[in-house]
Amino acid sequence: MTCEQIRLHIHEAHDDDNLGAIPEAVRAHLAACGACREFNDDLESLSHALRALPRVRLPEDALDAVWRETIHARPGGLPTSAGFWRLAAAASFVAALSTATLYFVFAPAPPPGPSAVELARASAQAEMVFGYTARALAATRDATTDRVLASKVSPAVRAAAASRPSRRP
């Protein structure tokens, strides 16, 4: 067999992952031919190196996006931890907004203030009370003045005062 035919056999053995299946004639050739032996070793090492290439994990944000678009997109899907808290925050906000809206729509109206007629009546009553009070105070003051004059002032002055017209209404 030529080196080319031998290498085809080597390839096929690698194809099947069964290096033990290399025919005896090929083994004999490999024992004698350094180039083909090196070829075989290279292919074996190449397979190992390819399988040992570093594997890169799918980033977490991409995986999160997959869950969001799939199982979490349907009603009742299990939320992720981040999604759960976002959902909880949104639910709280909606609940607060609904409560505030309901309160403003259905809360009882404050009691109405006094009417104009009642205000006028109250004002008239107050004016009447104040009028009585003012007159009572004036009367008291005049009486006091008279007593002081009677005790402190000479008879001539008292007579002059008595001759003046009274301030009492």
């Binding site: 390839h11 090492s45 390819l50 890169v56 994990r57 991409a62 997959v66």
Partner: protein
């Protein structure tokens, strides 16, 4: 497929789909978008997809188709978008010393994968990285078995040559 089965399928295959898209597109953002879209599509088609191996094939086929769409849209600009993890292509470092660290080998290998066309890259990734059976790959990429094997042999040769040229023992 029930909701629980969908969740299990996502957790099982999300990194596989993401890595495949990353391997084809060589662009982290595009790969993330494709993986995301692919998993969302699975949800929309969950009634037609059975859990297990069929689900894996369905996801990888969907990812492959989405990647091809992106590559076509990207045709006005160069296909190769440098992956952050790929080795610096200008770092030739000629000399007798062989690069031995696994990170360097991985970097060179990723660079060599970039030089394959997207179909060859898809076959290598599905077979050598994801470990899919030939029948599954042939069905997924709509290829005949003979074509698939010949393409894989050619792609392996290219990778081997690229690594040998770069003085890297694969």
């Amino acid at each position: 497929m029930t909701t629980n089965e969908f969740e299990a399928a996502v957790m099982e295959h999300k990194d596989r789909v993401h890595n495949y898209a990353r391997g084809i597109l060589r662009d982290p953002e595009d790969a993330k978008d494709v993986a995301q879209e692919c998993l969302i599509r699975l949800w929309r088609h969950r009634e037609q997809v059975e859990p297990g191996t069929r689900c894996r094939s369905w996801l990888l086929r969907s990812a492959h188709n989405l990647c091809i769409d992106r590559l076509r849209r990207r045709s006005s600009r160069p296909e190769i978008v440098r992956d952050e993890g790929a080795a610096d292509p200008t770092d030739a470092r000629p000399g007798p010393e062989r690069l031995t660290s696994s990170a360097e080998v991985a970097g060179r290998l990723e660079r060599a994968l970039l030089d394959l066309d997207h179909r060859d890259r898809a076959i290598v990734l599905l077979r050598e990285v994801e470990g899919l059976a030939y029948e599954e790959i042939a069905e997924l990429l709509d290829l005949k078995m003979g074509t698939l094997k010949a393409t894989l042999h050619r792609a392996r040769e290219k990778l081997r040559h690229a690594l040998v040229r770069a003085e890297v023992t694969p």
